[in-house]
Amino acid sequence: MGAAEPLIVIENLRVEFAQDGQRAIALRGVDISLYKNEVHGLVGESGSGKTITAMSIVGLLPRQALKLLSGSIRYEGRELLSRSEEELRSYRGSKIAMIFQEPAKYLNPAFTVGEQIRETIREHMGLDRSQANARARELLALVGLGNDGRVLAAYPHELSSGMKQRAMIAIAISCNPDFLIADEPTTSLDVTLQAQILKLLRTLKDMKKMGVLFISHDLSVIKEIADRVSVIYAGKIVESTSVTRLFGHPMHPYTRLLLMSIPDARRKGRRLAAIAGQVLDARADPQGCVFAPRCPMARDLCFKESPTFIAHEQDHMSACHFAEEAWKL
């Protein structure tokens, strides 16, 4: 895993929007390296910049509101940020595909599932109608929707939400992308369905050796599916390491507190760690650490100087002046 060249490298990505005449900072320096055949979890609260990160990779940021986009996103060494819309379109779908939280919103209610899969295949792979049809059938079987063509002829409203998400996944992987971005794909599903979709994503990843960026607010889901995790807070990656290390020995106080705030039946009766205060306002641009105002460990230095995102131990990056002390919290 570690030895190979990363497929996608994001460096110091900064995104700002104009909001009611004011500057809102969505991302304040995101660094992530994404590899093939690896599930990279991106975890953070709502508004922390998870989806903006994903949208930057596929070049789908709302252009009107965008004020600043700096840093770099390289795909196999080539810069994506300077590409034209035309060039990006050939990437999307064929090289990088994406699935979302609410499949119902992204499937067109007026077309059958079959038509929607065929559209993508024909656009990117240049197959004729019958080839596309055969491929669509194959894909539906792959995602567990049967191969008798029943779902192929169904409209989205005829499917349950779990089936819709499977159909979305079928469309996403239809052109054999190297990379799949899954933005909270199981959040609106019941736990039993969630377990099945997670399993399906893992199987597909193993089968196709895809890289996956799995976005979630739920640390337990991340623990279930990811190989590596980045924790994002207020538009900044604060910690990044393997799943085992993150859960075993967190090196950022935010991660540590998040882990302690998950209700666990086995720790019944013990008070949950609640992180005091509110998430940093997007308009604020503090000099020091973004988490300092809510951090129980914060000292003078934390308010004065922003910690750099560096490796504190082998393969364990953290942006905290006192990373070594975080696990004691």
């Binding site: 609260e45 709502s46 567990g144 929707l145 049967g146 008798d148 029943r150 779902v151 169904a154 005829e158 499917l159 349950s160 779990g162 089936m163 499977r166 019941d190 736990v191 039993t192 369905l193 969630q194 377990a195 099945q196 997670l198 399993k199 893992r202 607010h217 739920d218 640390l219 337990s220 889901v221 991340i222 623990k223 279930e224 599916i225 507190l257 998040l258 705030s261 998950i262 209700p263 666990d264 039946a265 720790r267 019944k268 008070r271 949950l272 760690a273 609640a274 992180i275 509110q278």
Partner: protein, 302 residues
């Protein structure tokens, strides 16, 4: 122990006329019986659409049950006249999942909390005192009571909804997915708050959630609901250490990251096992242990 809430064979049928003009019924709650002790903390868990909320609404007589009886503090609610029922309403309240839609956007927090108190004819001074005390209890500064809901974050709004539910000094609170819309760190704040006020005000909870892990953390007893029926009911320890029902086991195994089902087994492992068992019947089924006769696409295609 005395029961505050008792349900006996509660059934709720939703009726509707289809396009063909034929009226059909759908049994959303099917013969449910259980009781909740005074100051108990009772959890109701199950997937979406299994009838959790319908059952809660039937218990509160917001949508009276089609058949069966609900007793509140020993009194059968079905036998009451509307006026008498209203007196009981005061003693039971409900908190919904989405605080955005359960607060009136055009009313200030103070006005929202006043409504019930005005109805019972409380004087302004006493009202203000009470509202300030409740806001303080849920951790909202009383100086903010003249603000509108949009000026608060989701977590704060849910606190306000909880404060509003408490204005009538209820004994029984139904919490219908109260933290499902909240972020993890905020979720923890609200759970802590709910457990604190339960202790302080000696409340009885019916806690509804799809998240068995959360329900287990909060509640002492758990009922597992599946397709309108309660398939298993036990104390939390009992349910986790010795789940008897197949569906309960699937649910426990589906908890991500943990795997309560068997030692060391992850959700994926168990689901795989389950699906092997069921593949013969459910080719395109999404829920592993679906067995009923629901006439939709989820059933086996022939």
């Amino acid at each position: 122990m005395e029961a505050l809430i008792q349900c006996r064979n509660v059934v709720k049928v939703h009726r509707g006329r289809g396009l063909d003009g034929v009226t059909r019924g759908f049994k959303a709650v099917d013969d449910v019986s259980f009781f909740i002790e005074k100051s108990g903390n009772f959890g109701l868990v199950g997937e979406s659409g299994c009838g959790k909320t319908t059952l809660a609404r039937a218990i509160l007589y917001l949508d009276p049950p089609t058949s069966g009886k609900v007793f509140f503090d020993g009194v059968e609610l079905g036998g009451l006249r509307p006026r008498q029922l209203r007196a009981f309403r005061r003693r039971m309240q409900i908190v919904f999942q989405d605080p955005h839609s359960s607060l009136d956007p055009r009313m200030t927090v103070y006005d929202s909390l006043s409504e019930g108190l005005i109805n019972i004819g409380m004087e302004r001074a006493a009202r203000t005192k009470k509202i300030n005390r409740l806001l303080d209890l849920v951790g909202i500064s009383s100086a903010q009571s003249s603000r509108f809901p949009h000026e608060f974050s989701t977590g704060q709004r849910q606190r306000i909804v909880i404060a509003r539910a408490l204005t009538m000094d209820p004994e029984f609170l139904v919490l219908d997915e109260p933290v499902s819309n909240l972020d993890v760190s905020i979720q923890a704040q609200v759970i802590n708050l709910l457990l604190d006020i339960k202790e302080e005000l000696k409340l009885t909870y019916l806690f509804i959630s799809h998240d068995i892990n959360l329900v287990a953390y909060v509640c002492d007893r758990i009922a597992v609901m599946y397709r309108g029926k309660i398939v298993e009911e036990a104390s939390t320890e009992e349910l986790f250490s010795n789940p008897k029902n197949e569906y309960t086991r699937t649910l426990l195994a589906s908890v991500p990251g943990g795997g309560f089902g068997r030692s060391g087994a992850t959700a994926a492992d168990i689901v795989r096992d389950e699906s092997i068992k069921h593949t013969a019947r459910h080719v395109v089924s999404d829920t592993t242990s679906r067995t009923g006769n629901e006439p939709d696409m989820r059933e086996e295609p022939r």
